[in-house]
Symmetry: C2
Subunit: 251 residues, 2 copies
DNA sequence: CGAGGGGTTGATCTCCTTCAACGGAGGTGG
DNA sequence: CCACCTCCGTTGAAGGAGATCAACCCCTCG
């Protein structure tokens, strides 16, 4: 057994958090062919409307999925960290209406669609696991709609920080109260539907209330309870509390 | 061959718009077991956190997927019309963090998860088709993030009307310039992240500009081009322009 | 006939944007 | 080694989009 890519191992771990796979299936995932690409900070990985033949697995760094308006303004619709397959959706919809961009210097694994599709077709459990993984992203972006539509700047920012904290913790990349979020205030603004000026003022407000400090892209949550309260944060939408057994049979 | 439910036929038609299925597979979908339920206007179909054993296929009416804040405020994250399987996602994630509510009197088909899952496991093409269908909803909700985050009230409302127009047209339930949207201004507000008062004023503004008229839940688009322009609307996110051939092999 | 829900209007307030300027840290070239 | 530049963060003042609150209208239904 050769040493697998740590990125694929992270991806498999993410899948296994919510799905059960046999050792054969697990091995097949670890052996997926791929090309490793280093993406500099602020470089676009792919743009909207492109038809791709591979999915992007994040090896390291921070990657954003974004929607672009006519005037060039961008809205970030998702943030992806190491172990996330940023557009697993593209396996079934190769022409995707969104773009991917690296917010920080990142390592990306290009995993061809073909073997992913073949794996899904050969192993129904894998197909369900992939589908389920996409459902997690769906749930997250749905929550973002609620966050943007019904919360003020404080709540929105607090919610984003809570979400990323829990996700970094789940991925083993930090703790929910201390993690590296390599995004500028302008990029946070693009994710929150705010201006960078207002993100700045809102961060100061959260800091004045001794809820969270952010400096040098390092987030330190000072009072998780109160931050989650400000954010109206309920982590269940991250679909983490799936029973460890065969989740397929729970319905 | 017995007469299939028109709702299942609509659902199948929606799948076939983007996926290719054999006649055996098509027949299996039309023969899915289900229970027909009539849901009165404003009644919740299911609430957040519930673990379900069936998915909801809309037979008629207008159904909203919503997120609920602590204070009871609701944010609608998706609108579903006849032929939409409102929570096909629940097949792989039976505990869903969102609720479903009927905005108008609706007919809902409860389709048990088991046969859906069995169908997906028995036929990889069906699994991919289901997964692809979920990707459409994903793409739509992602676009809503952009709409909420980067557009003002006029653009948001115009975009929602454009989207629903195209979707009604695709589903054969009207034309993009004339369709029934059975939602109150308050419900539109819940979808747009606005107040009902402001939705009212914004509708008047669109009407003054002779872009669209809405009365008695009937939307009449007077100038599609300009409305789409105000909305910054590009229908490609609805994933309608998939080639008619075997889309699985296009990557 | 009265009640209630949805739509309409006006006045006021507030949150966030806009615009503009400045500061500090890091990188580069002379 | 310092001058300069650029990017990011920070601050202030002014303006605007939308919220809020409250009243009223119309239509439907009991």
């Amino acid at each position: 057994m050769t040493a697998a890519s740590p990125a694929l191992e992270r991806f498999l771990a993410r899948l296994l958090r919510r799905s059960t796979l046999t050792s054969v299936q697990r091995q097949a995932i670890l052996e997926l062919p791929h090309r490793v690409v280093r993406v500099p900070s602020r470089a676009d990985i792919s743009s909207a409307g492109q038809t791709l033949s591979h999915a992007c697995l994040i090896g390291s760094g921070l990657v954003a999925r974004f929607d672009e308006m006519r005037d060039g303004q961008r809205q970030i619709a998702a943030l992806h960290i190491a172990g996330d397959m940023a557009d697993l959706h593209s396996v079934v919809a190769p022409t995707r209406p969104w773009g991917l961009t690296a917010l920080s210097e990142s390592i990306v694994l290009q995993v061809p669609h073909e073997p992913l599709r073949e794996l899904a077709c050969a192993h129904p459990d894998v197909a369900l696991a992939f589908w389920r993984d996409c459902t997690v992203d769906f749930s997250v972006v749905s929550k973002w709609v609620g966050n943007l539509g019904r919360q003020g700047a404080r709540g929105r920012l607090a919610h984003l920080l809570c979400e990323m904290g829990v996700r970094f913790e789940l991925a083993g990349l930090g703790t929910r109260t201390s993690f590296a979020l390599e995004a500028t205030q302008e990029q946070l603004a693009d994710a929150l539907g705010l201006t960078s000026v207002h993100v700045n003022r809102t961060l100061q407000s959260l800091r004045r209330d001794e809820l969270v400090v952010m400096r040098n892209h390092l987030v330190e949550v000072l009072d998780w309870e109160r931050l989650a309260d400000v954010a109206d944060f309920d982590p269940s939408y991250l679909l983490t509390d799936v029973p460890p057994g065969r989740s397929e049979n729970s319905g």
